[in-house]
Structures are given as structure tokens and as C-alpha cells.
């Protein structure tokens, strides 16, 4: 399938596809970071994670509308406000969900999976009732539109670069939160030995609640980023959820580096394959490869070997 392209063309294609992959990578990483934090900490698979992302996207959409209508002068900067709001809204809902539902299902991961699926259905219908079934898109501020020409044949869109920088920023933020802060120390203590963490005075319930909230909040930011590269509908979140799960599991549930590396692998292979095959076959092959590798190495790429 390579014969028809010259070497230079091939490099450019790979580069452009690679860049397209990077945007997908950014959304996947943001989605997966939240999910990985929750899964690593509580062993809970949050099936409503995609809906939290969409909540962030709708928040961004509303914010853009409000700025457009009431504060057109500040429109250039609305996106940063929207991101903060998206985080807060999702964080609040996440804390509420943990308090009202997840904490009762402690140690029942499969049941939690079903319950959060129920939550995702409710949220989807809620979005449909409030925002309508049609997909909505946001207007980007002037400075984010257009693209930057690197060479004659290679052009990269500015919003893509923005999303990537944002991802980098959030990922390092999460890293510092988890590995350099007292809070992170508490979280890791709870992960490693819950009863002991409780015994030394860590309020494990509170740690769970905020962890869940932060995971959902990051999904909200992912939703903000998502509005820049796609339009938002009530069920858009569902399209990403399987990929995100695979990213988390593939990376090894408790490793941040693993999450990022596996998001990179999955998004890159998918977008590269996409150019040569049809989009659906690219996805099938990517997923098959991931599932295949997971069958061989179920603990994921970056799991620690620990003493049972």
C-alpha cells in the first residue's frame, strides 16, 4: 500500500497523520487520566466517564454562548473561564455521585460498573432533554482558528497545538498533585493499604470522594478540549469510553506514565492506520491489537510486580 507515494510524501503523510493522532492522543490522555486516577484509587470503573466529559463540553458550549451574547469584548479569553467552569461542574457532580452512590458499592467493582452505566443513561437523556438531540459546536475565538504552516506541505492547526499544550499542562499538574503533594501521598497511602491509611488518621472516605471528584473534573476539562475538535451531542461521550478504558487497562491501572504511553500508542497507531485503511478498519485493527496484547499481558504495560 506504500508504492504509490514517494518517500518525501510518505514522511509528510506520516507527520500529518501523526499530528492528527496527537490531538486524539490529547483527548484520550485527559479522559484516561481521570479514569485512571479513579480506577487506580478505588478499583472503580466509571462507565459514566464519557458523560462527565460531555458535561464539560456542554459547559464550554454554554460559556461560549454567554460570552458571545453578554461579554463579546472578552470573547477571546472565554475558553479559560469555560475550562475552569467545566472542571468545577464535573468535580461537583463527581463528588455528589460518590457520596450518593459509589461509596455504598465499595468492594463491588462489577456492581459499580453497572450502576455507573445507569447513571450514564440518565445523564444522556438529561442532555437530550436540555440541549436537544442535535449536536452543538462552539465558536472558536479568532486566535485559535487557522493553522501554522511548518513547511510547504505540512500545516498544523492552532487549536490542535493548544489542546496539546493544555494536555501537557494538565498531565504535569496531575503528576505534581499525585506525587509531590500531601494530598497525593494520602491517595497513594489509601491505594496501597486502606485499613492502615485509615488507622493513621487519613479520612479514606474523604480521599475517595475528592479523588472521584478530581477524576471527573479532569474529564470535564477533556470535554472542553473536545469541543475544539468535534461537535458535542448527548451520546458523543460513549464513542470514547471503550478507547479510554483500553488506554487505562493497557497502560497498567496505577501508572501515570503508562496511561500516557498507552494513549500515545493507541492514538498514533489508529491515526496512522486510518490514512491507509478505512477509518472503521483502522479502529478494528487498533482495538484488536490492544486486546491481543492485553490477553498476553493482562496487568498492562507498566504494572509493578508485587508481593501478594
Amino acid at each position: 500500500m506504500f508504492e504509490e507515494y514517494s518517500m518525501a510524501e510518505l514522511t509528510d503523510i506520516l507527520f500529518m497523520q501523526g499530528f492528527a493522532g496527537l490531538i486524539l492522543f490529547s483527548v484520550l490522555v485527559l479522559m484516561a487520566l481521570g479514569l485512571a486516577i479513579i480506577f487506580g484509587q478505588m478499583g472503580v470503573i466509571n462507565m459514566a466517564h464519557g458523560e462527565f466529559m460531555i458535561l464539560g463540553a456542554y459547559t464550554t458550549y454554554l460559556t461560549s454562548h454567554i460570552f458571545e451574547t453578554y461579554l463579546p469584548a472578552l470573547f477571546d479569553g472565554y475558553f479559560f473561564v469555560a475550562m475552569a467552569l467545566a472542571f468545577l461542574v464535573c468535580f461537583a457532580l463527581g463528588v455528589l455521585v460518590e457520596w450518593g452512590m459509589i461509596r455504598f458499592l465499595f468492594k463491588r467493582p462489577l456492581d459499580t460498573l453497572l450502576a455507573t452505566w445507569g447513571l450514564s443513561l440518565i445523564l444522556q437523556q438529561l442532555y437530550r432533554t436540555v440541549f436537544g438531540a442535535r449536536e452543538v459546536g462552539v465558536t472558536l475565538p479568532e486566535w485559535m482558528m487557522g493553522s501554522y504552516a511548518m513547511t510547504e506541505t505540512i500545516e498544523v492547526p492552532i487549536n490542535g497545538i493548544f489542546v496539546m499544550v493544555l494536555t501537557l499542562f494538565i498531565a504535569s499538574g496531575v503528576y505534581f498533585l499525585m506525587f509531590r503533594s500531601l494530598w497525593g501521598k494520602q491517595v497513594r497511602a489509601v491505594v496501597q493499604n486502606r485499613p492502615m491509611a485509615g488507622a493513621v488518621g487519613i479520612d479514606t472516605g474523604k480521599v475517595d470522594r475528592y479523588t472521584f471528584g478530581i477524576g471527573c473534573g479532569i474529564a470535564g476539562i477533556a470535554g472542553s478540549a473536545f469541543t475544539m475538535i468535534g461537535s458535542t451531542g448527548p451520546t458523543s461521550g460513549q464513542l470514547y469510553i471503550v478507547d479510554t478504558f483500553l488506554v487505562v487497562v493497557f497502560g497498567g491501572a496505577q501508572s501515570l506514565i503508562g496511561t500516557i504511553a498507552s494513549a500515545f500508542t493507541i492514538s498514533q497507531s489508529q491515526s496512522t492506520l486510518e490514512f491507509f485503511l478505512s477509518g472503521s478498519m483502522a479502529k478494528v485493527i487498533t482495538l484488536l491489537i490492544v486486546v491481543g496484547i492485553l490477553m498476553l499481558r493482562p496487568q498492562g504495560l507498566f504494572a509493578l510486580k508485587i508481593r501478594q
Binding site: 452512590m101 445507569g118 437530550r128 432533554t129 486486546v291 492485553l294 490477553m295
Partner: protein, 422 residues
């Protein structure tokens, strides 16, 4: 205490339960509903096969598969391929550019029947493929996963990914699979018009009978030691392993069995509804099938049937009157069943209805049931018998696996936390 040496295939309650279900399915429903509604119930019953498989696999084995739609779909597609080929004879497809191949292939500029469609011209092949193909697929997944000890949430996620892959594949390869519309316009089975009213009634009975066979097979498994090993495995996998069992093989077996049930359900679906499409394969339908099982009670074989009927009936009512409310109701159902009624209708029945039923139901009086129960205890003395009677009441829950599951999480916690001193 000899009772334990004489574990029975069915308890008195279970016999009555099966009889009641048989009366409802084979007499009350067919006599009281018109053909359209009967066909609808028949369609619901095809999902009950999946729910039944999930009771064994998830309720007993503790393996939650979120990809049962894959097997339902494979079974359904195998049936649909046979029916489609029968409907695509050169005579009735003569307006196509290539007569004699299914219409959707013609639309996709395919000029020759793919080789793997060819054997589906034979009914015996198609029928065996319905049963064997999904089972084989489950076997491959099972070997790969269980031999490497993948379980729990990981298994659920991977089966879900497989459901996603399968849907994308079917939709993407529309020239070979009919794409998003699926395989439609199925008419006859060996010349017999399956769309006629009489055929629908007959197929309803065939479906019910097949469901009963699967139910009894499940009952048999539960009654044998295999059923108890599944329960044991769910609770203490390591202990089972160190009692000398190859745990993976048991998981593979029960997963394959549940796949086979689902596939039979899928084939019955195709026959009764007249088409098969990827909308029964993917993530959403697969997880919806889990809720049928959960509503009925994940440990109750009969509950799976009632749960399926109830949820689908509610779905139909809702979608006819308030379609926008259905997802709210469904979502709430998922949450409620997990949080408030983890053992579903079966546990509600046990708690609220069973105690109110007359004594003959449970067979506690010295009636026929009781004397059958004690056939091999004839040598025991009368005094000891009285003691046994008492013991039997005390130990009643354990002879009824439905209730047994309920006590697992809480009592386990309490006992371990309270008594353990070290």
C-alpha cells in the same frame, strides 16, 4: 441429617416454579394475546436465553461479560445467512446485476458470493454453526483470558471492547454483512413462510420449548457438583485452585455455555423477528442484557426469564407512551437493582411472597414431598428424625442457592472483622 446425601434435582418450590412458568408461557400468554403481541413476547424470550447464560456465568461464576450481544448476534447472523440465501434464489433476484446473491451484496458491487457464505446454503451446517461458532469464539476468548487469570473488571472491559470491535466490523464490511441495516427481508425456512401468523405461533412455541431445555440444563448444572464449584470459585478462587481444580477450565466452560445459550436466543430472534442487525451486537444491547438478568435476580434461573419479560414489557410500554422517559427509567433501574435489590425479583419474592404462601408450597408438612425427601433415611430412628426436621429448617437456605448469595458480603465482613484476633 441424611437430607444432604440426597440432594435433589429440584426442590418442591422449584418444581412448582417451573410448572408455573410453563403454564404462563405455554398456555396463558398464547391464549390471551393476539399474534402480534405473542410474537413480541417471543422476541423478549430470545433475550431470556442471554439472561439465563448470564445467571450461570455472572451470578454463579462471578464472570461478568459485557459482550453477550456478540454471541447473540453471531447466532442470529448464522440463522439469517441461511434464510437470506434461501430468499435470494436467482428467480426472485433476477433484477439484480448479479442474480442469486443477497441484495445488499449486489448493492455493494459484489459479484460473487463470498466463499464463507457458501456453506450456509445447507440447513444442517447453518444450525450447527449457530451453536458451534459462537461457542468456539467464546472458547478462544475464554482460553486466552482465563488461562492468564484475567478476571473481574478487566474481563468485563475486554468483552466490551470485543462487542465494540464486532459492531464496527459488521457495519464497516457492509458488502458481506449487510452493514448497519443488517440482514433483512427474510422470508422462508425450507419453503415454509416464517412471516405468516401460524408460523409465528409455532415459532413462539419452539422458542419457549428451547428456553425450557436451556433452563433444565442450567438446573442440572446447578444441581451437580459443578454448580457448587462455580459458587466456591466466585468466593474463593485460590482455595478452589488449591483443592486441585483447574479454575480456568471451569470458567471457560461456563462462559462457553452462556455464549451457546445466547447464540440459540439470537437464532430464535432472527426466525421470529425476520432480520438481524448490528444493533443487537454492540455495547449498549450487551449491557442491557445484563440488566435483564440482574432484575430477575442474578442467582435465579427462573428469575432471568421473568426479569427479561418484565424489563422488555416495561420498555415497550414506555416507548409507546413516553419514549423520552425510557432512558431515565432504565438508568434508574440499573442503579436501583444494584444498590437496593442486588438479588433482584427473586429475593423480593423470597422475602415477601413466599412466607405468605400456604404450607403445601414449601412442603414443610409431612406430605408427599417430605417423604420423598427422606427415602434413604429409613433406618434412622424417630427421635433423630425430629432433630433432622429441625436441622432442615435451620439449614434450609443452603439447599436453595438463590438466597445463599445474599448473605455473602455482609456476613463475611462481620464474621471476619469481629472474630479475627490476630
Amino acid at each position: 441429617m441424611r437430607q444432604r446425601s440426597n440432594i435433589r434435582f429440584m426442590s418442591r418450590q422449584e418444581v412448582l416454579g417451573y410448572v408455573l412458568l410453563a403454564v404462563i408461557l405455554l398456555a396463558i400468554i398464547p391464549l390471551s394475546l393476539d399474534v402480534f403481541r405473542l410474537n413480541l413476547i417471543g422476541k423478549y424470550l430470545t433475550y431470556a436465553f442471554v439472561a439465563l447464560g448470564l445467571v450461570l456465568c455472572w451470578g454463579y461464576g462471578g464472570i461478568l461479560s459485557l459482550g453477550q450481544g456478540v454471541f447473540f448476534g453471531l447466532g442470529g447472523y448464522c440463522m439469517a445467512m441461511f434464510l437470506k440465501l434461501e430468499a435470494s434464489d436467482p428467480e426472485s433476484t433476477k433484477i439484480q446485476s448479479t442474480p442469486g446473491i443477497p441484495d445488499f451484496m449486489d448493492w455493494n458491487q459484489i459479484t460473487e458470493l463470498p466463499w464463507w457464505w457458501e456453506p450456509f446454503r445447507q440447513l444442517p451446517f447453518a444450525l450447527s454453526a449457530i451453536v458451534l461458532l459462537p461457542t468456539l469464539f467464546a472458547f478462544i476468548i475464554g482460553v486466552a483470558m482465563f488461562k492468564l487469570r484475567v478476571g473481574g473488571v478487566y474481563f468485563a472491559i475486554i468483552t466490551q471492547a470485543i462487542a465494540a470491535i464486532m459492531t464496527i466490523l459488521i457495519i464497516g464490511q457492509q458488502g458481506y454483512t449487510g452493514g448497519v441495516n443488517g440482514i433483512t427481508d427474510l422470508r422462508t425456512l425450507l419453503g415454509w413462510d416464517i412471516r405468516s401468523d401460524s408460523a409465528k405461533v409455532i415459532l413462539y412455541y419452539v422458542c419457549s420449548a428451547a428456553l425450557f431445555i436451556c433452563l433444565l440444563l442450567s438446573q442440572f448444572i446447578r444441581y451437580k457438583k459443578l454448580g457448587r464449584i462455580l459458587v466456591a470459585m466466585r468466593d474463593r478462587e485460590d482455595r478452589v485452585r488449591f483443592s486441585g481444580y483447574d479454575v480456568a477450565n471451569f470458567k471457560i466452560f461456563v462462559f462457553c455455555l452462556s455464549a451457546m445459550f445466547s447464540a440459540i436466543g439470537g437464532a430464535m430472534f432472527t426466525l421470529q423477528v425476520g432480520f438481524m442487525s448490528p444493533s443487537f451486537v454492540g455495547i449498549v444491547p450487551s449491557i442491557e442484557m445484563v440488566i435483564y438478568c440482574a432484575v430477575g435476580g442474578r442467582l435465579s434461573l427462573l428469575g432471568a426469564v421473568y426479569g427479561t419479560l418484565l424489563v422488555n414489557w416495561a420498555k415497550t410500554i414506555f416507548s409507546e407512551t413516553f419514549p423520552e422517559l425510557w432512558l431515565f427509567a432504565m438508568g434508574a433501574l440499573f442503579i436501583a437493582v444494584v444498590m437496593a435489590f442486588p438479588n433482584g425479583l427473586a429475593s423480593l419474592f423470597k422475602r415477601y411472597i413466599e412466607p405468605k404462601l400456604p404450607a403445601w408450597y414449601s412442603g414443610k408438612t409431612a406430605g408427599l414431598g417430605a417423604s420423598i425427601m427422606r427415602t434413604d433415611s429409613s433406618k434412622e430412628t424417630v427421635g433423630k428424625e425430629a432433630l433432622e426436621e429441625k436441622n432442615r429448617v435451620v439449614s434450609k437456605p443452603i439447599s436453595k442457592p438463590e438466597t445463599v448469595g445474599t448473605m455473602a458480603p455482609s456476613s463475611d465482613e462481620k464474621l471476619e472483622g469481629g472474630v479475627y484476633v490476630d
